[in-house]
Symmetry: C2
Subunit: 312 residues, 2 copies
Amino acid sequence: MTRTIKTDQKLMIYLDDWRARIDKTLEAYLPDTVAMPTRLHEAMRYSLFAGGKRIRPILAIAAFEAVNRETGEKIETALPVVAAIELIHTYSLVHDDLPAMDDDDYRRGRPTSHKRFGEAAAILAGDALLTAAFAMLSDRRLTAAIPAERLLSVIHELGRAAGSLGMVGGQFVDIESEGAVGSQTVSEETLRYVHAHKTGAMIRAAVRVGALLGGAVPEALSSLTIYGERLGLAFQVVDDILDLEGTESETGKRVGKDAAQQKLTYPIVMGLEASKQSAHRLMTESLEALTVFGPEADPLRAIARFIVERKS
Amino acid sequence: MTRTIKTDQKLMIYLDDWRARIDKTLEAYLPDTVAMPTRLHEAMRYSLFAGGKRIRPILAIAAFEAVNRETGEKIETALPVVAAIELIHTYSLVHDDLPAMDDDDYRRGRPTSHKRFGEAAAILAGDALLTAAFAMLSDRRLTAAIPAERLLSVIHELGRAAGSLGMVGGQFVDIESEGAVGSQTVSEETLRYVHAHKTGAMIRAAVRVGALLGGAVPEALSSLTIYGERLGLAFQVVDDILDLEGTESETGKRVGKDAAQQKLTYPIVMGLEASKQSAHRLMTESLEALTVFGPEADPLRAIARFIVERKS
């Protein structure tokens, strides 16, 4: 542990500051709860403003900053674009919690969308959040300062990462494999697929979106892609460990649920110690990918450590 | 009835020809069923290639043609963009059929997605189809010939029309109002909202997308917007009438289901005769919006008549 309390505090301020700016951007964009259909907008906002850490948009901001000194692009122009990533992330949580999927009653200490608004409303709120992401990304009133071709490459990056070859594909295989945990060889292969796609794809994409928006040169984009890929895998391994070890008050959801459902998780398939080692190895690899950068990548480094060492 | 058999045949050839080209474009874009997760791609293709008429993409093509003589844009460049509209339409059908929504077992004479693949797979297939639409729209390998700013305006148009202020909003209010048919005043107002949003918004957007891609001048865009708006309303009124009058073999789904579910439909709220008059009035209004165009808008005229006079 080479970190000091000061470094921790600096990261907390960084995270809080950007979280507030991202929330403000989302708040201004999303129709308010007097817009018809009021209850649909209420449901969308209920899940979007549920105290999320906004890790994905902040990763994009930090990646933007890492290439920023070279390119001199203004970070404010990127804000509506990175905020839209959170709309995609929130939709995925709302749909994952549905009775036909993971069937979760609580998230972040509150009833899930379908428990609060009913199943049809939760499906539609998720659909509307996903759609709103792409409407926001292509809204030139918000993104006028970004070159059109660059914005199209960002939209394509997110469309690919969120789709059947990315996040949705990972969730599909995860559901498919439920209760089928047993055959060790098949499980490890499937486990890697699920983690790389379900969580990894969007974290990798968030980092790449920041780099693309900042006008990264190909070498910088490659390095940041590796950083995002390893970090994305680490993120899910830590999530699995927390599900097994964490307390309910820390994670805000029922603990041990994955084990009870025979879900494909790292601790179940590889054991707890091997999982912890794996998380740290992935973090180390993600940090190594940043060696080409100087202090401009310090936020990315601090976030990687934060993700792997978090307790909830 | 001023139409001749020759006109009918010409329209059928036009619809069949474009349907085949749209299907080919979608076929080439969507991952095939050997791409992992294979069963997810199978589910996506099952619903996408279920014999749909591709009316929305063809409306976009016809709107493109209506402004094409002025602008000289090549129609082939528009094909991947208009095909993506069908991905959005298909996702909406898959989610509408879900048990928590309209709970339909059959569509186009085949089991619905959730009956065939299970509920989780149907939710995810819908999510992936919606996401694929935006990935396709922003894929520059397919759309290189379209100016980037124009493509962004198309993506934004579809994102708005498909979201909480458009199609999803209409579906939400439709579900909310189920079983609540009774108070005549409230019902008529709600009915108009549902129809304008659930079906109308995407038909209007399809026409506008074609016009935008064709580089329509503001006046032409306004006229085509009115055409699309009235036609979208007419489309749903006819759908409601067919649900009440059509035979199962013609519509491919259980007839009279709307009435049994106390769904908000034109015939239930306004009566059958008034509904038929309304459909024809809307068709007339849509045709009147085209008076500024010459024969280049003949396909749009023929499609409007086809939609209102169809039997399934």
